[in-house]
């Protein structure tokens, strides 16, 4: 990353945060609402696990740990890729035209300009909370190797979710109306990813592995660190596949997006 890009990032971050502070009560309530929503889904998991003790050999702490990976990557994802969710609005209000008028990379501008720090904060808090609750009691030996693996997991998980949204947002170049399909697919898949993939039937499993690859955001990385017995159903190398899927998936989504740009009608 070159110096001038860091300067640009700083400038955008400054205006982004300042804008948020213009409406601090609004921002605070929004963060609170997101926090409460996420916390309630965690309680849902908690009460479910009270009944079953384990789900396919996963106990509550282990599921919390897996959930912490999901929320951590998700909070990084909304920080950098949220703009792709709101892309139809960007087109409608002419904000995207403005980006095309500026002598910086289109993606760079979108990611830096769209960074949503406040929304990222509440998911970040949830993930840190879940991590603290679980990380030391699920039998992970935190050494250089596992910490490195964890960091790679963070990056690939963020990029995989980004790739999904970039891919779907490319359709907005063809259809100006937002049909909400991408939200539906994304949120449903993310909901499913709260639990180990192995508990689902074949169709859902395949979707989560090969179509909307949430399994590689949190399940397989958690498997590497936790080694639960249900991993036997999958090839060993799946635990190392997340970065590959992130790179390949994002490249494909990016190429498709750039290709679709020429059909932009403004």
């Amino acid at each position: 990353m070159s110096m001038d890009l860091i300067q640009l990032f700083k400038a955008y971050a400054k205006t982004g945060i300042k804008t948020r502070f213009q409406y601090h009560l609004d921002s605070f309530l929004l963060s609170l609402a997101v926090f409460v929503r996420e916390a309630s889904s965690i309680f849902g998991v908690y009460f479910l696990l009270l009944k079953f003790d384990t789900l396919n050999d996963w106990n509550i702490k282990e599921i919390f740990f897996m959930f912490s990976i999901l929320s951590a990557t998700y909070s990084l994802f909304i920080m950098f890729f949220m703009v792709f969710r709101d892309f139809p609005d960007w087109i409608k209000h002419g904000d995207f035209d403005r980006i095309l008028l500026r002598p910086r990379g289109i993606f760079v501008q979108m990611i830096l300009n769209g960074a949503d720090w406040v929304a990222a904060l509440s998911h970040g808090c949830i993930s840190i909370l879940m991590f603290i609750l679980s990380a030391n009691s699920v039998g992970i030996r935190w050494n250089a190797g596992s910490i490195f693996y964890y960091l790679v997991t963070m990056i690939s998980g963020t990029v995989i979710q980004g790739a999904i949204f970039v891919f779907f947002s490319a359709f907005n170049f063809y259809f100006s109306k937002n049909h909400g399909i991408k939200e539906f697919v994304f949120w449903k898949s993310r909901r499913f990813a709260t639990f180990p993939v192995s508990i689902y039937g074949g169709v859902v499993q395949n979707i989560l592995m090969f179509v909307i690859p949430f399994a590689f955001v949190n399940y397989f990385p958690a498997q590497y660190l936790l080694r639960k017995s249900d991993m036997a159903a999958y090839p060993e190398y799946y635990m190392y596949l997340s970065p590959v899927i992130a790179i390949v998936g994002f490249t494909l989504a990016y190429v498709f997006w750039r290709f679709s740009l020429r059909y932009y009608q403004s």
């Binding site: 955008y12 205006t15 209000h93 403005r98 008028l101 002598p103 990379g105 020429r262 932009y264």
Partner: protein, 334 residues
């Protein structure tokens, strides 16, 4: 130097039959229709020129502007600024241009105006000393000082427009696109903005491409006009050329207290057979007769009318540009 060669832009539109059945059908067998919003447009603009780019609503003006600014990719044809092409190298191209869309702002809405210039400085990589110098110049021309610390959302429309023009000039572009820069502004503010544009054009030799519905903007600023309609060039030339080509329109104002005389004037319409070019309007004691002096010379019209009626006063007026263009839009001439 801006060169626009055979620019064309087609849009595909999907046609949907009504009802649910139609929706399902169009999902599997989409029927599309190709519409050429811009058919074939060519022109050149020399450095330092102010070009008025006009045309009726739906003529394809904004599509052309969007291609010239690199927002839309042309279906065919090219536009280059100093040899740079927006389709091949967008980043290099847009460094050369500044764009103001009068109906939208590029300013950070919730923040003090100064913050916008701070971000733009980073986006365009303007060095500190250059930035300071530039802000001083823009401040002098557009008088930003009074509101530079106010949040953009609190600015008046005129202040916002000045701020927007300054924002698009921060990186010293060679070409400035102004799309409706005076829309919704009062007369005094309009005047100030025009003066500022003229000053910048003179001082920095900035090429200006001006799209507007306010022909006073054009008359005061533009050296040249390009008019398009239905996606093609209709006229390209100076204002005096436009006037000499289409503007042989003269208006005779008769002031007469004699009601019979006013009635008689209505029959002027039948003078020579080209009656569609003679328009007669009555307003109180005044009767306006508008006609094309290349068909009926003014002297002939005067001797014809004055031979029949008595008048208190009479005046002859040149048609203004507004009149000519209104006629062109309605395809009355040309």
């Amino acid at each position: 130097m801006i060169e626009v060669n055979n620019l064309r832009k087609e849009f595909k539109k999907t046609i949907k039959d009504p009802g649910l059945k139609g929706s399902i059908k169009s999902l599997f067998h989409p029927k599309t229709e190709t519409i050429a919003a811009v058919k074939d447009i060519s022109f050149e603009i020399a450095d330092g020129e102010i070009l008025g780019f006009i045309g009726p609503n739906g003529a394809g003006k904004s599509t052309v502007i969007k291609m010239l600014t690199g927002i839309l990719t042309p279906t065919s044809g090219t536009c280059t600024i100093n040899g740079k092409n927006p389709t091949h190298n967008r980043k290099n191209y847009v460094r050369e241009i500044g764009v103001v869309f009068g109906q939208r702002t590029q300013l950070w809405w919730d923040l003090p105006l100064r913050e916008t210039y701070g971000v733009l400085k980073e986006i365009y990589e303007v060095p500190d000393d250059k930035f300071k110098e530039r802000m001083e110049f823009l401040n002098e021309v557009l008088e930003l000082e009074d509101f530079i610390t106010s949040p953009v959302r609190t600015l008046s429309l005129g202040q916002r427009m000045r701020a927007d023009i300054a924002a698009s000039l921060l990186h010293s572009p060679k070409v400035l696109f102004l799309d409706e820069p005076t829309i919704g502004l009062d007369v005094v503010v309009k005047h100030n903005i025009r003066n500022a544009i003229e000053y910048i054009n003179k001082k920095e030799k900035t090429t200006v491409i001006l799209t507007t519905h306010d022909l006073a903007d054009i008359e005061m600023l533009a050296n040249r006009i390009v008019m398009i309609d239905k996606g093609s060039n209709v006229f390209d030339g100076t204002i005096s050329e436009l006037k000499s080509k289409y503007g042989q329109i003269r208006e005779l104002n008769f002031d007469t207290s004699d009601a019979k005389a006013r009635e008689k004037l209505a029959y002027v319409k039948q003078f020579k057979t080209k009656k569609e070019d003679i328009i007669v309007e009555q307003e109180g004691n005044m009767v306006k007769v508008r006609f094309d002096s290349s068909i009926v010379p003014v002297s002939e019209m005067l001797s014809y009318t004055l031979g029949k009626i008595k008048v208190n006063d009479i005046s002859v007026k040149d048609a203004d540009i507004e009149e000519i263009i209104a006629r062109l839009y309605k395809h009355e001439v040309g």
